[in-house]
């Protein structure tokens, strides 16, 4: 042994002390913030009105956004949900979205905030209100709802709230006085409320009802569509006026050609929609007239 035992022991002690005193792997860290992302890429936010809760909306529409991004070749679309109609409308009317898929009422109003209509869902017949009751319900006519509670997703929901209330009014039941209106926040809640028997009828529109039937067949089997309203032009696409024309055109072309490929048709099925078609502001004139009548006759859309 060339080194004395105590030398090794002392070396071990010193090393162990250094080992114990080693109290940091890296220097102090604080994130650095900037006004633009490190990897600069133009992002366009695509806002879809709260047809579903954000997670469900993301599951349904994100594949469509992915498809658009994969074929745009440069600009990037980013899907953005909203937790409520109010939040969505705040963002829409505040020009937060570059592209948007609002409901008809919001489309009409967005025109005043620098948006233009460039397309719509082709299935106008599907844009109608439906009223559900339990199969074991004893209500057989609109008049039977008098004095009862009826659920809706939100006061400003055109198809699910305003069209059914107009339907009740046209059938002799004043929604302002003859029934108790319950605005439960979402389409699914409106359906579940009637399923649970808390209200006599629940109003919604076809897409959420189709999804509910698919996701909850046992519950859906206990419900039945008692009334259907007239239809209005379906939801459509708007684009903010500062989005480059070529980008808007590319997005529109991609949307309008979806039905031409199996992949596109699969995406349309998720919405669901048969296809997207070009449209402009004139297509929503019936909607504007209905809203004006509704406002003049029953109430302002934003107010319960």
């Amino acid at each position: 042994m060339t080194t004395a035992w105590w030398t090794k022991l002392a070396a071990a002690a010193v090393l162990s002390l250094a080992w114990a005193c080693d109290d940091g792997d890296q220097p102090e860290y604080r994130p650095t913030y900037g006004e633009r992302p490190a990897a600069g890429q133009q992002v366009y936010r695509f806002g879809i009105h709260p047809l579903h809760n954000p997670e469900t909306l993301f599951e349904v529409y994100q594949p469509l956004i992915d498809h658009l991004n994969a074929h745009l070749g440069g600009p990037k679309l980013e899907l953005e949900a909203s937790r409520s109609y109010a939040a969505y409308e705040d963002k829409l009317y505040g020009r937060h979205f570059a592209f948007a898929l609002p409901n008809s009422l919001q489309i009409v109003r967005s025109l005043d905030h620098g948006y233009r209509v460039f397309g719509k869902l082709d299935d106008d017949r599907e844009f109608r209100g439906i009223c559900l009751v339990r199969r074991d319900s004893t209500i057989h006519s609109v008049a039977g709802l008098k004095g009862k509670e009826v659920s809706y997703p939100a006061p400003s929901a055109l198809a699910a709230t305003m069209l059914p209330q107009a339907f009740f009014f046209e059938n002799g039941l004043d929604p302002r006085t003859d029934i108790v209106n319950r605005y439960v926040g979402s389409q699914e809640s409106s359906i579940l409320t009637v399923y649970l028997g808390r209200v006599a009828a629940g109003c919604t529109w076809p897409p959420p009802w189709i999804k509910f039937q698919r996701d909850n067949p046992e519950k859906a089997a206990q419900l039945t569509v008692k009334w259907e309203t007239r239809s209005l032009p379906h939801n459509g696409f708007v684009v903010r006026d500062d989005v480059p024309e070529d980008v808007a055109r590319k997005v529109a072309d991609l949307l309008f050609g979806l039905q031409d490929s199996p992949e596109g048709r699969a995406l349309l099925d998720r919405v669901p929609a048969s296809r997207f078609v070009p449209a402009d502001a004139a297509a929503y004139e019936p909607t504007r007239q209905f809203v004006d009548w509704f406002t003049a006759t029953l109430r302002k859309p934003e107010e319960p």
């Binding site: 002390l17 109290d23 994130p31 954000p54 993301f58």
Partner: protein, 517 residues
């Protein structure tokens, strides 16, 4: 260049010295320091690992919680909702900051509101966004650590929840633990050193006690005070030492008695030899005188046998006379008072040669005398010494060579000279080199002499404090060496290598240096 380890070793050795006490103290202190350092280091390291694991787990847990609760808010880009979520964790103790970012690094929610809507652009953040979508520790330092968890929707990462927790408290705890550890180490060293001092003091006190007893024993003092409650090993040593001391004292006493008896016996014997020799000389002189008278008056008048008998009586009485003279000489050398003075060896040689003049002339011998010093000796003894040695050389001459004797001297040990009497005579076999110095020992019965001469020579040399020996080989002559003290200090620098200290020779006397070479 001195290595650090070698330097420390040197310092420690210098500090430890050669005493058991200091070595024990240094050793105990060193062992305490090393062991306590290892212990404290291990303790601190374990504590750090525990605290870090705990911090990481807490930060990861919070990040996962935020990630789960942020899903719908992130999808809705709802700053207000995210702020609520962030606020719910921002109040946790030690949370430095919490944030939710989307896939592009945009801050959607933050404990510091001004950061909202800005982008994280540092490499760590970019690494997080580009890395694997799994919860992990993003960064860790002595004072903080950040963990992040992905915000997933249907297998897709839509953002990240990042939580940074302050670890300054942990660092302070570790520093405190280390500080306390150092205090404990120093305390352990102090306590250990004090104990070592106490133990060493007890041990060395008892050992010192035994050492003093050994010194007293060396000085010839008897009686060893018993130790007070010594440790077992020291008690065993003390018992062994006491036994040894008792044995030495007893043997010394016995030896002293033997020496006294021997000295008395020697004195009696020498006195007897002297008296006997002296008293024998008178009747022997009468016997010799009357035998010679018979030879003169009746020689040739009696028959031949009677003449031979008378001749034998005359020769016998002559030999007995010589023998008695030699015995007297030997006895005188033993009894005479020692009163050495400075005697020139050359003068002693000259006197011896004068006494041997007849023999030298008869043999035709050549005598060479070198430069001889002045010795501290008694003149008659020195003359007798040279006369015996030179006469011996003439007596045992080689039959085919003219006797040649050389007397030289050279410095021996400090204060001593070594003299040599070299001849070219018969020489002597190695097995007889010691025997010739014994009294009455004669290798050649036919040779003239009594066999006392060389015994006298050795006695004379021993009385001077020197020694006498022979180097010789059969047929090649002999060299008789003897050492003797110089009258004045002779060249100390020329002292021969390997010589024994002269003082001991002087002090030891004839007996201790009687051993032949």
């Amino acid at each position: 260049m001195i290595q650090p380890a070698a330097l420390v070793k040197k310092v420690l050795r210098a500090a430890a010295g050669k005493s058991i006490r200091s070595r024990l103290v240094i050793g105990v202190a060193l062992v305490h320091a090393v062991l306590m350092t290892l212990f404290i280091a291990d303790l601190v390291h374990r504590q750090r690992a525990f605290l870090r694991t705990e911090s990481t787990a807490r930060a990861l847990g919070l990040a996962r919680l935020v990630a789960v609760n942020s899903v719908s808010w992130v999808l809705a880009n709802d700053v207000r909702g995210l702020s609520e979520v962030i606020r719910s964790v921002g109040g946790y103790p030690d949370v430095l900051y919490a944030m939710v970012i989307d896939g592009s690094g945009k801050v959607l929610g933050h404990t510091e509101e001004p950061m909202i809507d800005r982008y994280v652009i540092d490499p760590v953040s970019r690494g997080l966004l580009d890395g694997a979508p799994e919860a992990r520790e993003v960064v860790s330092s002595a004072t903080m650590m950040e963990a992040a968890a992905p915000i997933r929707v249907g297998g897709r990462v839509v953002g990240w929840a990042r939580i940074a927790v302050n670890q300054s408290g942990h660092a302070a705890e570790l520093r405190a633990a280390l500080r306390e550890g150092v205090i404990y180490t120093i305390s352990a060293i102090l306590v250990g050193t004090l104990f070592a001092l106490w133990i060493a003091r007890r041990l060395t006190r008892d050992l010192g006690h035994l050492g003093e007893a050994a010194n007293r024993l060396r000085r010839g003092e008897s009686g060893i005070a018993a130790l007070q409650e010594p440790p077992t090993e020291i008690a065993d040593l003390e018992r062994a030492f006491a036994d040894m001391a008792g044995t030495i004292l007893r043997r010394e006493q016995e030896l002293r008695q033997y020496i006294d008896k021997l000295a008395a016996s020697n004195a009696d014997l020498e006195q007897f030899a002297y008296v006997a020799s002296h008293d024998l000389k008178t009747p022997l002189r009468s016997v010799a005188s009357y035998a010679q008278l018979l030879e003169r008056r009746y020689g040739g008048r009696l028959d031949a046998d009677a003449d031979d008998f008378i001749k034998f009586i005359v020769d016998g009485s002559k030999r007995m006379s010589v023998l008695i003279d030699d015995l007297l000489e030997y006895a005188r050398n033993s009894q005479a008072e020692r009163d050495p003075t400075g005697i020139a060896a050359a003068e002693a040689v000259e006197a011896a040669l004068a006494n041997l003049n007849a023999a030298i002339t008869a043999s035709g011998a050549r005598i060479h005398v070198g430069s001889l010093p002045t010795l501290l000796a008694e003149r008659p003894h020195l003359v007798s010494l040279f006369q015996n040695l030179i006469g011996n050389a003439l007596k045992f001459r080689h039959p085919e060579r003219v006797p040649e004797v050389t007397i030289t001297a050279e410095p021996d040990c400090i204060g001593y000279w070594r003299l040599a009497v070299t001849d070219n005579g018969l020489g002597i076999a190695p097995e007889y080199r010691e025997k010739i110095f014994a009294i009455f020992q004669r290798l050649d019965a036919a040779a003239e002499g009594t066999g006392i001469g060389l015994a006298i020579c050795r006695r004379i040399v021993q009385r001077m404090g020197g020694r006498l020996w022979i180097e010789a080989a059969p047929g090649e002559g002999s060299i008789f060496f003897f050492t003797a003290p110089a009258a004045v200090s002779t060249p100390p620098s020329n002292a021969a290598p390997g010589c024994a200290p002269p003082a001991s020779r002087r002090a030891a006397g004839a007996e201790s240096d009687a051993a032949p070479v």
